[in-house]
Subunit: 123 residues, 2 copies
DNA sequence: CTCTATGCAAAAACTTTGCAGGGAT
DNA sequence: ATCCCTGCAAAGTTTTTGCATAGAG
């Protein structure tokens, strides 16, 4: 996937900050929060969050909120569902596809909450 | 539903704060945030949040996080799913039941995010 | 050259904690 | 009488904003 093309196709200016953020999200196998990436990026947090908003507006990433008060970000592409454990707050990507239709609504993301197998087996 | 029994069955002390919170949640047709209830309750916010945590621990309520940075609370009972609009942040309860099974996981809640019919039709 | 992006610091929004006094059982 | 609950104020966490400067096209 061409990082720079992704950005410029949306008529966004091609900056280092944007390339850094997208690169990390593209290379990650799971959704990431600001906290997850803060040591790996060189920009200020204000820049990070402002760019996240731009990416969202342009459909480059998708986001969701977890148990732990944090927002998580991932590349909009692999439009899979997520499982959030209400005990340990771990997030799993569900690659089996789960389809839900709701009349007159556009479904974007499905988040399933519950207890993960680790926690079921007493951590 | 017997408010007082719900509380004392969990060996929680029967206080006014607890009765107030549960009563509002029981009577509501939709999940509520602290902001939604703050004008209708007489306790301090610290008490509200501490009791919410107790109720969660005891399985009296279920909670989820929405787009708007707020946590929403509802009586654990009508274990239905929710639709959160990513544009207007409105929350709808989905009463049609949506069943999802995931191996080795205990599914508790399903949250579907997308665009609601209002927003599809240009607000 | 122009307009958008960035860094820094300060603020905002929501939730949690410490502590001393009050209340349920 | 004992412990748990409460209010108040202060602090914590995550995200947002204002403003002056830097940088992309």
């Amino acid at each position: 996937m061409d990082l720079e093309k992704l950005i410029s196709d949306k008529n966004l200016k091609l900056t280092n900050a944007r390339k850094e953020i997208l690169k990390i999200l593209i290379e990650s196998t799971k959704p990431l929060s600001y906290e997850d990436v803060k040591d790996d990026i060189s920009m200020d947090k204000a820049t990070f969050y402002r760019n996240i908003i731009k990416f969202e507006e342009n459909g480059l990433i998708s986001t969701f909120e977890s148990n732990d008060k944090k927002r998580y970000y991932e590349i909009q592409e692999s439009n899979h569902s997520h499982f959030i454990c209400t005990k340990c707050s771990n997030i799993e990507c569900l690659h089996e596809d789960i389809k839900v239709k709701i009349k007159n609504h556009k479904v974007e993301t499905i988040i399933i909450k519950g207890i993960c197998s680790n926690c079921i087996n007493g951590n």
